[in-house]
């Protein structure tokens, strides 16, 4: 049955990364993602790797924590990388029938693996240094300009934070309903796939009924606490785009410039 899942891996701290505005961090993530897919030469890989390592050190979070995000994805990472070995043309070093392993293939696989690892680490650094609430605030602010074309920025952010709030509650509830139905004779663990899916109906129906009831009650509670949309709403912790953010963004652009500077001379 479902056990405690920890959501949002926020680790409290006071590093520069922690103090940055979420918007800056989202900007950086996009920047780095783009960069990871542009890097090509081994020199660029090396610099990019050093850069990622630097971020990990700046965050002040134990290295073990920041690479933890890779573990659940390891299989997929290796799988995609290995596929590359066999499907890249070039000089063969080993051939078994139609299957060929090439030098280029091995390099491509290593490079892809490194890219993905760097991506995952950057992304986890963001979630490790940002609370879910700050994150949704950041997303709300980023979407704000699009309100004019009908994007409900505040509502999207509110929905995200409510979802975050209720995921542990609903997991607990799922666990409870599964136990109760098992006591009534339900069987979730054996049988064909079809019958197993069917066996979840007694869990899903009560779960949905209760989720709707919760939604109703939460709406009432929010209304009676004077909630009337995002207009005129202030925040306990306002996010500020400070000088630090500006310099961090500029530094990011500059560093990437350095990484790719080699291309200018080649």
């Amino acid at each position: 049955m479902i056990n405690n899942v920890t959501l949002g891996q926020y680790i409290p701290g006071n590093s520069i990364l922690h103090r940055l505005d979420p918007r800056t961090k989202i900007f950086w993530t996009i920047l780095l993602m783009a960069a990871t897919f542009l890097i090509d030469s081994w020199a660029e890989y090396l610099m990019m790797g050093l850069f990622t390592l630097m971020l990990m050190l700046i965050s002040g979070v134990p290295i073990r924590q920041s690479v933890k995000g890779i573990k659940p994805l390891l299989f997929i990472l290796i799988f995609t990388a290995v596929l590359n070995i066999f499907f890249t043309g070039g000089t063969p070093i080993l051939a078994i029938g139609p299957v060929k392993v090439t030098y280029e293939g091995i390099f491509a696989a290593i490079k892809l693996f490194l890219r993905l690892v760097m991506l995952v680490i950057t992304a986890s650094l963001v979630t490790i240094t940002t609370t879910p609430m700050t994150m949704t605030d950041g997303i709300e602010k980023l979407l704000k300009p699009f309100e004019k074309i009908g994007v409900p920025a505040h509502e999207i952010a509110m929905m995200m934070s409510i979802a975050l709030r209720f995921i542990p509650t609903l997991l607990d509830e799922t666990n409870r309903i599964m136990k109760a139905q098992a006591s009534r004779g339900a069987n979730f663990d054996t049988g064909s796939i079809f019958s197993r899916i069917k066996s979840f109906i007694p869990v899903l129906v009560p779960l949905f009924v209760s989720a709707f009831k919760r939604a109703d009650e939460l709406a009432e509670a929010m209304e009676s606490r004077c909630y009337r949309g995002g207009k005129g709403r202030t925040r306990l912790k306002e996010i500020h785009y400070s000088k630090l953010d500006l310099s961090a963004s500029l530094a990011g652009i500059a560093l990437l410039g350095i990484i790719f500077s080699g291309r200018l001379f080649s």
Binding site: R165, P202, A221, R233
Partner: protein, 605 residues
């Protein structure tokens, strides 16, 4: 004269924070052709600033509708509600109304919006557009006021029910209201959580002068109110001080409620001709009254202390044997938690065993081993000769029916009938047998056959709970385990459940294990009681013996029935009385016999 009158009138208006005048509310019909349901029928009331008001009424009496009418979540179809001079039907000022009168709801989980405690408390002030610095100040003060200062960074799902409700109260406080209305905010809490919430409410009322309207069906909570209102069927049937209210014991019982045990005892004694000048409401008052009636006896060599009714115990023939049972949740992970330590317990065939202990003491974990939902980390559980760990889970779960808290939340089928037979269909019985069992069970539980073809979601709360219990009973379990079967039910609903259970025990010989926080019910119905604390079974004995160990129970944060407390106090004030009297009836018989045997009764005539 005119000046005086105006002043008087003015004064009253100024003071009344809540004023309702002949208010009606009806819910629109769900289907065409149905009649609209009138939930509130002509309520008028006036509550002064600073009063502590308790509104009593059974489930479905219109209490929750009333709460929603008070802060403008609902607008009366007829009549007016005026909050601090503002009509709730005035759309422009509705936020003023909600700022003045905050509402705390029943379900602690469903009113917390944010992912941390402090952000949740900040939610109200944020909506009011208050500056971040002021919000911070309000959040810190409010959390301190409800005693949750250290929890500001916590995630709400890490908190207990009582703590969550205190957060909800802090969330209202941060909006600086004049009045807080609580809609059954204590009904889903354990006794400790209830006490925490009540203490906070009293403090807010006393120190900040905030008007409190506390809607509940826990009678003990009404005793300390300034004003009590009783609702029945959408109407306000009684209003007065607690003493005035509880003197109308018949009317209260008619409204599906009950009076505190002490008051019930006083009433019974009065009926037997014992004279009392004023109705005692709590243990101290009753001790004073009885001290006046019964003279102290110096010698203690009478048998009065042993004259207590001894309940017949079931002979020792074990049906469940628990040996050295330990359980660890999520072993090896960061969340590893030892929940049970070396439990040894024998449950006898045909008995009713109560399990008491604070929330988190391991009660639910223990009983979930009885039908193999949880597996022992070490030790063993044997049910009726069957080891509760092998592959015979199906057989085991047929022997042991386990009913979880709020079992009505598991209903899912299209009709009541289908829901009841959910487990049965997996046993390969023929249709005749299935039908026979269903009708037998609904007869025991008092579910009327017309309900069988209805959707379970159309039923009332109490009916749903019975249907859920029926779904387990049709499996003909030898042992029925219930985890807080009366949680959230009003007094009448609770005592019905207990009556059904003891009937089942008597007529079908079903062994029953009940987890409950209601000591009065446990004392009245259980043959034996097991006490748990911090994952250990601390003792298991007859109900009378368990509840006479007051000091130990207090250490485990457990109460004893008010009646038992009364006899303890009588004993302490020098009377030769037993300390293990458990029910109102036992107490009545004992006191009457003491008075009649002329143990120095002082006649008042």
């Amino acid at each position: 004269m005119i000046i005086g009158n105006t002043h008087c009138l003015y004064g009253e208006n100024m003071n009344a924070i809540i004023k309702a005048d002949n208010v009606y509310y009806e819910y629109m019909a769900q289907n065409e052709g149905d009649i609209a349901v009138q939930a509130v029928k002509g309520i008028s009331m006036s509550i002064r600033q600073g009063q502590f008001v308790v509104v009593l009424g059974r489930n479905g009496s219109g209490k929750s509708t009333l709460a929603r009418l008070l802060n403008g979540l609902l607008i009366p179809v007829k009549g007016t509600v005026i909050i601090d001079g503002i009509d709730t039907s005035n759309n422009e000022l509705i936020w003023e109304v909600r700022k003045t009168l905050g509402l705390v709801f029943q379900n602690p989980d469903n009113q917390i919006v944010a992912t941390t405690v402090e952000e949740d408390v900040a939610f109200g002030p944020e909506n009011l557009g208050i500056s971040p610095d002021d919000i911070r100040k309000r959040v810190d003060e409010s959390l301190k006021m409800v005693g949750m200062g250290e929890y500001s960074g916590y995630s709400p799902h890490m908190l207990s029910g009582g703590q969550k409700q205190r957060i909800a109260i802090a969330g209202i406080l941060a909006m600086e209201p004049k009045c807080i209305v609580l809609d059954e905010a204590t009904s889903m809490l354990d006794p400790r959580g209830r006490r925490e919430v009540m203490d906070v409410l009293k403090k807010l009322n006393r120190e900040k002068g905030i008007t409190i309207v506390h809607i509940t069906h826990h009678m003990e909570e009404a005793v300390e109110a300034d004003l009590v209102m009783v609702m029945e069927n959408g109407r306000l049937v009684l209003t007065g001080t607690p003493r005035q209210i509880f003197e109308n014991i018949e009317q209260i019982r008619k409204a599906g409620l009950d009076v505190p045990q002490i008051t019930a005892l006083a009433y019974d004694l009065k009926e037997k001709g014992v004279r009392m000048d004023k109705l005692p409401l709590n243990v101290n008052e009753m001790v004073n009254v009885l001290n006046g009636l019964i003279k102290r006896k110096n010698s203690d060599n009478t048998d009065s202390a042993r004259r207590h009714i001894v309940r017949e115990l079931k002979p020792e023939s074990p049906i469940i044997k628990v040996r050295d049972l330990s359980h660890v949740y999520m072993p090896g992970s960061a969340f590893e938690q030892k929940a049970l330590y070396d439990i040894n317990l024998t449950v006898n065939k045909g008995e009713i065993l109560g399990i008491i202990g604070q929330t988190g003491s391991g009660k639910s974990t223990l009983v979930q081993h009885f039908n193999g939902i949880l597996k022992a980390t070490s030790g063993s559980v044997e049910v009726d000769g069957l080891k509760a760990e092998g592959n015979d889970l199906k057989e085991l779960r047929q022997k042991v029916g386990l009913i979880f808290q709020y079992p009505e939340h598991q209903l899912f089928e299209e009709t009541v009938y289908k829901d009841i037979i959910f487990g049965l269909t997996k046993l390969g019985l023929d249709e005749e047998e299935i039908k026979k069992r269903v009708f037998h069970v609904i007869d025991i539980l008092g579910i009327s056959p017309e309900l069988l073809e209805k959707s379970p979601f159309e039923l009332s709360g109490g009916q749903k709970r019975r249907v859920a219990i029926a779904g387990v009973l049709v499996m003909k379990p030898k042992v029925l385990v219930l985890d807080e079967p009366t949680a959230g039910l009003d007094p009448q609903g609770s005592s019905e459940v207990f009556r059904l259970l003891s009937r089942l025990n008597r007529e079908e010989g079903t062994t029953i294990i009940i987890i409950s926080h209601n000591m009065e019910e446990v004392a009245a119905f259980c043959h034996r009681v097991a006490v748990m604390n911090k994952g250990r079974l601390v003792f298991c004995d007859t109900a009378a013996n368990v509840f006479s160990r007051y000091e130990e129970l207090k250490n485990y944060n457990l109460d004893i029935p008010k009646i038992t407390e009364l006899f303890r106090e009588l004993h302490n004030s020098g009377h030769d009385v037993p300390q293990n009297v458990l029910t109102v009836d036992e107490a009545k018989e004992f006191i009457i016999s003491m008075i009649n045997s002329g143990v120095g009764v002082r006649h008042n005539d």
